[in-house]
Subunit: 86 residues, 2 copies
């Protein structure tokens, strides 16, 4: 796998992990987050698994559903896996 | 226009403004940023105008081209227009 492709994959995985961590901190189920963010539960599953390259506006809906700022979610993902390496 | 639609529009505009501000700080042209971020110049124009709901991975490429962390770019956009209101 190309290095840049691996980095992109890692970035999506890190974002998914950040979403999952925050969701669990709030004791929310994927279904519960889906309802507050107005996204389907299976879409949340895919995001948490790093399988979706979500849009900026979806990121904002997720952050709202997780009761945090989008930048906080991204910063947490950066901590998990350095995005600047991409 | 619906309130949520206006909020989404404002969020995209704020992100575009944050990108533009950062680009000008670096004395980069849209074409120059396009080259470092591997995006077409017209796509940069659209992003700066708030006309594109860019993907997460594109956001990462932009941040790399602007020599900053994605979270810094988002935080700047939040300062310009509160995303959490969306």
């Amino acid at each position: 796998m190309q290095k840049s492709k691996q980095h992109r994959k890692n970035a999506l995985k890190a974002l998914g992990e950040a979403v999952r961590n925050r969701r669990l901190e709030l004791s929310l189920s994927q279904e519960g987050l889906g309802q507050t963010a107005d996204l389907h539960r299976t879409y949340i599953t895919d995001i948490e698994g790093g399988l979706r390259n979500l849009s900026f506006l979806t990121l904002l809906r997720l952050a709202k559903g997780l009761n945090c700022l989008p930048s906080e979610l991204i910063a947490e993902a950066e901590n998990l896996s350095g995005f600047h390496k991409i």
